[in-house]
Symmetry: C2
Subunit: 355 residues, 2 copies
């Protein structure tokens, strides 16, 4: 099956599994505010997202099980809960009021605040507070995917261990990124480590959870890990490229955002390492200015070009692509053709994407 066929077949099943978890919560509560709260969470989860993580989990399981088996669908949504829970908290941290073109979870409750006659709490605080709890809820609900399914207890405990490890790695990645603003001499390897944790770890764990349920032999796990982590690395490098040199009409994102927020992107770190001392000094000055002008943003782009940063980053993505491809080729003999096609399509999509 190619990637598109996989999406078409499994997204409705994944959506149903997510709905089931929330409908259970909704049935349990009577209080009207709790009903609104769980409805908003459910709605937020159903509002969008490509479901790449559950798809990876399902495809890995099916890759090793002849004919596949839909009982993997329910546990596969655990990683989607972890992902969305992180997004809910990230949006508070980054003060992003919109996600996928729709209101962020905390922003929904900033608006909800109007229903209250709250003299002692501002709308902004109210949204943030419910948002913090909302992310927490989603982290916990993800556990249900591993608690209530048809697999053996040992496999479920392994999956929960991966779930915990995935969170730890994601948070380590986020914290290293926070700390990066304080680092003057970043190497590209620091960046790769950071995105491996922040984005690669959960893609890898989605795959390993699928492999766990399919009881895949240990010897294939490191190949699967390489594929998963590298998929995340490639995704982030391309994200950085599109964030500055993408086509706004296609990406839907302005190409000055990363530069304005001074993001330690692949482009910036590459440029800082390649430019002359003088150019580097100028670049730092431009980036650190809190009132960066449109002209300054263009100056930064010119310095990126001078360092040939876009090409260097693209080559870097290509390097991780080749590594992932090599791992996938080694798995070819032992996995089903249908899922080989899925993994191969996804890898190509991630490096070629324009949005």
């Amino acid at each position: 099956m190619n990637f598109g066929e996989y999406v078409k077949l499994y997204i409705p099943k994944i959506t149903d599994a997510i709905k089931n978890i929330y409908n259970k919560k909704l049935n349990e509560v009577e209080n009207s505010f709790l009903k609104d709260y769980y409805s908003e969470l459910k709605d937020y989860f159903l509002a969008g997202g490509k479901r790449i993580r559950p798809l990876l989990c399902i495809a890995t399981y099916n890759a090793f099980i002849e004919g596949g088996d839909d009982k993997i669908v329910f546990p596969s949504v655990g990683v989607e809960f972890l992902h969305n829970a992180s997004l809910i908290h990230d949006d508070i941290i980054d003060k992003d009021d919109f996600r996928r073109g729709k209101p962020a979870f905390h922003y929904r409750f900033r608006q909800y605040h109007a229903k209250y006659d709250l003299k002692k709490m501002q709308a902004g605080d109210f949204g943030t507070n419910i948002g913090i709890i909302g992310g927490d809820s989603a982290f916990f609900f993800g556990l249900e995917a591993f608690l209530f399914n048809e697999f053996e207890q040992e496999l479920n405990l392994n999956a929960i261990q991966y779930y915990e490890q995935a969170f730890k790695e994601i948070s380590n990645g986020v914290l290293i990124e926070v700390d990066m603003v304080n680092q003057k001499d970043l190497k590209i390897q620091d960046y790769i480590e950071m995105i491996s944790l922040k984005t690669g770890a959960l893609l890898e764990k989605s795959i390993l959870i699928g492999a766990n349920y399919a009881m895949v032999d240990e010897k294939y796990k490191s190949l699967l890990s390489t594929y998963g982590v590298n998929l995340g690395i490639i995704f982030q490098i391309i994200d950085d490229l599109l964030g500055t040199f993408g086509d706004e009409k296609i990406t839907g994102k302005p190409t000055d955002g990363d530069i304005r927020e001074g993001k330690k992107s692949c482009l910036l770190i590459t440029a800082l390492n390649k430019l002359s001392e003088e150019d580097k000094k100028q670049l730092i000055q431009l980036i650190e200015n809190p009132n960066i002008s449109e002209n300054d943003v263009n100056e930064v782009k010119i310095l990126f070009q001078k360092a040939d940063a876009a090409n260097i980053c693209r080559d870097l993505a290509k390097f991780y692509y080749n590594e992932a491809k090599k791992s996938l080729e080694q798995l070819k003999e032992v996995i089903n053709d249908s899922e080989f096609e899925f993994f191969d399509n996804l890898l190509n999509f991630v490096i070629e994407r324009k949005f």
Copy 2:
């Protein structure tokens, strides 16, 4: 063993188990900011707290196992992680910068911010952001207590199910409390439901997790539940009483805090239900005033006295005490004497406490 002896014997063991979980994290990371982050979390966990929840888990286990067994200590700390994780997020939500006389977790990182040259992030935001992630980390690390211990997998999965349920009930309690500010005609039963969830649920689950590991017969679980939930209810009612009519020199807390923040305390809800329409109207006006004066606070206290609120609340606590006591007496035949004494002491302590 009386409560004091229990504390003396088990607190050092509980502390060691918490340290072990954090030392493992600290050994895994090299990045200096991550080392600081995990050190602060560890330090926050070790800075205080009465460890009531792990003690309840341990005592319940020992109550049913002849001679007890220290292998319960490690899984018992899971509930302490859940408790502290909630406190970290609560302190952000309530904007409390101190906890147990020491800096709240987010406040530690507000101070840490001075180490950075962060032009694009304020100290307050930095503290909040690291605080959100800190609470998340603690929620996840609690899982390790159930993943890496000497008990059977089935018992560990049950414990994780209790862990998830405890969070869901706590958060439902917190959300119902948030919604209460919008409710005009609160009944005391609404308040009891709220504190049963917010405080009772985790005490109950601490006990049920201990019972789970001791493989206690189902028929005793509802007695154990009653004891645990009621312990939480009594604790909160007394907390509300001390928050307004306590001795500041003993409690260490000002007796105007609850009134100033307009907390829907047991006293306030009782008074609103008992007072005449006229007095009720005055009380609402006083409470809703964002610039409440010292004189207004005293007016509120006079209205509480007029409604005989303190005595009514004390009687309410006594009612739940008697229920818990009855359950405990029914358990007396099947549990060890040593732990009966612990449970009995704790129940008396919670209702008689002055701080």
